[in-house]
């Protein structure tokens, strides 16, 4: 303890700032911050799920709207694409921790392109569905939930793009890879949330 604080003091003298404050938690503030943000995101999705279950359970309306269909097969393949991107993201993160830069960069790019594929298939689905959010409440809620999720995929892709640019510039090391880790946490959240969206809207 004493040795540690002396070392910390020397460290401070090198860095000319006020002494670092005490850290009272094992989780650093940035990681805690993204988890808290994800809790609020879950509640945001929860409100749209409320709209969905309110329609189906409380009101007992049919799903999908009478005379319309939802293409389950393509969405199932697309789900597999998105879920596999979680594995590549994990690979990138582990590689960043181990200092394996080529694997980290391969993982980040793979995740980015898998995500981009998912988003393109979703947009293609919108084009070919044949009904719109204005047609009926089922359409509103379908486009509302998938659209909210698609917006989150887009944000995730931007974060990944940023991580890729930073990786190209030589950022990230085994000691400093928060720029991979935090987009990763967000990306896993987007994936898991899609599984709930998929099961509710397409399967149930």
């Amino acid at each position: 303890m004493e040795v540690g604080s002396i070392a910390a003091d020397l460290h401070e003298q090198e860095h000319h700032g006020p002494p670092t404050p005490n850290q009272s938690s094992r989780v650093d503030a940035q990681t805690l911050g993204i988890y808290l943000f994800i809790i609020s995101e879950i509640m945001l999705f929860g409100a749209f799920f409320t709209a969905y279950f309110f329609l189906r359970v409380v009101k007992g309306d049919p799903w999908p709207a009478p005379g319309t269909t939802i293409p389950v097969g393509i969405a199932a393949v697309n789900t597999a694409v998105l879920v596999s991107s979680s594995f590549t993201m994990h690979w990138a993160n582990v590689s960043a921790k181990n200092g394996n830069r080529p694997a980290m960069r391969a993982g980040l790019w793979a995740t980015f392109f898998l995500g981009l594929t998912f988003l393109s298939v979703q947009i293609n689905e919108y084009v070919h569905l044949g009904w719109s959010p204005q047609d009926h409440a089922q359409g509103t809620i379908f486009y509302g939930l998938t659209g909210l999720h698609g917006a989150h995929v887009t944000v995730g892709l931007l974060l990944l793009l940023f991580a890729n640019i930073r990786a190209n510039r030589g950022h990230f090391s085994p000691d400093a890879h928060r720029g991979v880790e935090i987009p990763g946490i967000y990306w896993h959240f987007v994936d898991v949330m899609w599984i709930f969206v998929f099961f509710s809207l397409y399967i149930l």
Binding site: H16, S24, M43, L44, A51, L55, K59, Q134, G144
Partner: protein, 549 residues
């Protein structure tokens, strides 16, 4: 301070600051500005209602005033002013040098300011006039074609994002940056209040953010979330709105409970009674508060068993709330009470909040609520908890912490005059509204016939509201005057218990040169005891005498 970049000075130092104290002060200035706007709106409404069939204000303007008053007080005053006090005092009370994310903190503040500006811009075209709850279908484009509703929607988006980001910042700060030795059971109770307030914001605000987004697409892109013709349901709005709206009332009171729990022990010269019970009841209120939203919807077509659940869960909240009130009274019991202005407001808070709590339990009985819904009884109830409770608590906090923020004391006499004007004015305004509600006067009506027997009570209420306003102005005058002419406060004018009083008033930019090790929930008491025992200067106690804790 070697190696640090030059600090900006003048007004640029305020616009560009990431210092939690400056941001906290800007929150307090901005929100008090909105408080005055909301207050003027309230006074205009009371003027219109002073006599029956008054023609001072036309119905559209009156409904716009109702809407703007409610929205302003909730989204632009009580919630953000608590964030302001939190910003200033959370790092000081836990022994940190700033918040966990200083730049995010500045973003939160500016989002709030621009949310307020966007909303008030609607005054120049058509202000919204649906009431602060914006129930669909009234708020849908068919019935509210004007852009006032959209201005409100963007206010919710901007201030909501501001609050959620601020809340994440508070939680990360409180979890991560407490001084050495400050375990969970040694955190000041105000910190507990801000922590639970932040968790509630994170959990509840996304619901209303989603709801207003749905309303926005319904209004402009033809979606059918709330439109019956398309198969949507207006009741969904009420569920999503109140799933946020009820935790919101605890968001507006829990940090105030924390302030009261700091102030009462200091002015009773006794440790707080039942520290753990107060902290735990704060968490219990938050948990139960998430399960009671439909007690705002007792008159909607909902099965009786659901109504009974929401009635019972609402009753249950009275238990942890009662625990707090008994703890505060037990703290004062046989204490050496010092009646300074913060204590006046704290005691006034307890009395008035108790009345508001009791009328809340009454209206939680759903058959009773069927009678009381949308009457002035509910108006009286909400103002007893929100004004008699939250605002009196905020004034207690202002008088208590003003010396720390400005370095100078506020005038005691003016403070007491302000308290008595506010106390008498408040109760005069709102106590009679219970009677008006029971006599059947509906809320949000712009005028009423003379034959109903509501004239005298309305006149009393209006006179009371102007006395209340005079009381508020005395405090504002006192604050402005004391910044320049108040007597110097010194580090610790109240002989208080918590760490913010360890540092000079106002605190330097780095808050503390040394951060003492914390050994109890009342670190300043330990420090004073050590100083007295050893006869050493206060700074030297920062070095722990014995290892451990």
């Amino acid at each position: 301070m070697r190696g640090l970049p030059d600090r900006k000075t003048g007004w640029l130092s305020w616009l560009s600051t990431t210092d939690h104290k400056k941001i906290g002060l800007m929150y307090i200035y901005a929100t008090f500005l909105f408080f005055m706007l909301g207050g003027v709106e309230a006074l205009l409404m009371r003027l219109q209602l002073a006599q029956s069939q008054n023609t001072l204000i036309n119905p559209q303007t009156y409904e716009a005033l109702v809407t703007m008053h409610g929205t302003t007080m909730i989204f632009l005053f009580v919630v953000p002013v608590l964030a302001g006090f939190g910003n200033y005092f959370v790092p000081l009370m836990i022994g940190a040098r700033d918040m966990a994310f200083p730049r995010l903190n500045a973003l939160s503040f500016w989002l709030l300011v621009f949310g307020g500006i966007v909303f008030y811009m609607s005054v120049f075209f058509t202000p919204p006039n649906t009431g602060w709850t914006f129930y669909a279908p009234l708020s849908d484009s068919a019935f509210s074609p004007s852009n006032g509703v959209d201005a409100w929607i963007f206010l919710i988006h901007l201030t909501g994002l501001s609050s959620v980001l601020g809340a994440i910042n508070f939680v990360a700060t409180i979890h991560n940056m407490r001084a050495r030795g400050m375990g969970w059971a040694r955190m000041p109770l105000f910190i507990w209040g801000i922590l639970i307030y932040s968790y509630l914001l994170i959990l509840a605000l996304p619901s209303v953010a989603a709801a207003v987004t749905m309303l926005l697409t319904d209004r402009h892109f033809g979606t059918g979330f709330f439109d019956v013709a398309q198969g949507g349901d207006p009741l969904l709005w009420q569920h999503l709105f109140w799933f946020f709206g009820h935790p919101e009332v605890y968001i507006m009171i829990l940090p105030v409970f924390g302030m009261i729990s700091e102030i009462i022990p200091v002015f009773s010269r006794k440790p707080v009674f039942g520290y753990k019970a107060i902290a735990a009841s704060t968490a219990a209120i938050a948990f139960l508060g998430m399960l009671v939203w439909a007690h705002h919807m007792f008159t909607t077509p909902t099965p009786i068993v659901v109504l009974a659940f929401f009635m019972l869960s609402s009753f249950a909240i009275a238990v942890p709330t009662g625990i707090k009130i008994f703890n505060w009274i037990a703290t004062m019991w046989r204490g050496a009470l010092v009646f300074k202005v913060p204590m006046y407001f704290a005691v006034g808070f307890i009395a008035q909040f108790l009345i508001g709590g009791i009328s809340g339990v009454m209206s939680a009985v759903f058959p009773v609520d069927w009678q009381l819904q949308d009457t002035y009884y509910i108006v009286a109830h909400i103002h007893y908890v929100l004004f008699g409770g939250s605002v009196f608590g905020i004034f207690a906090g202002l008088y208590y912490w003003f010396p720390k923020m400005s370095g100078r004391m506020m005038n005691e006499t003016l403070g007491k005059v302000s308290f008595w004007l506010m106390f008498v004015g408040f109760n005069m305004t709102f106590f009679v509204q219970h009677a008006l509600g029971l006599e059947g006067m509906p809320r949000r009506i712009y005028t009423y016939q003379s034959g109903y027997g509501w004239d005298t009570e309305n006149l009393i209420s209006t006179i009371g509201s102007f006395i209340l306003a005079a009381g508020i102005l005395v405090t504002l005058f006192n604050a402005v005057r004391s910044v320049k002419t108040g007597k110097k406060a010194g580090n610790d004018p109240w002989n208080a218990n918590t760490l913010e009083w360890f540092t000079p008033s106002p605190p330097p930019e780095n808050n503390f040169d040394v951060i003492p090790r914390i050994r109890s929930a009342e670190p300043m008491k330990d420090i004073r005891r050590e100083v007295a025992a050893a006869g050493r200067p206060a700074g030297s106690v920062a070095q722990p005498v014995a290892p451990g804790t």
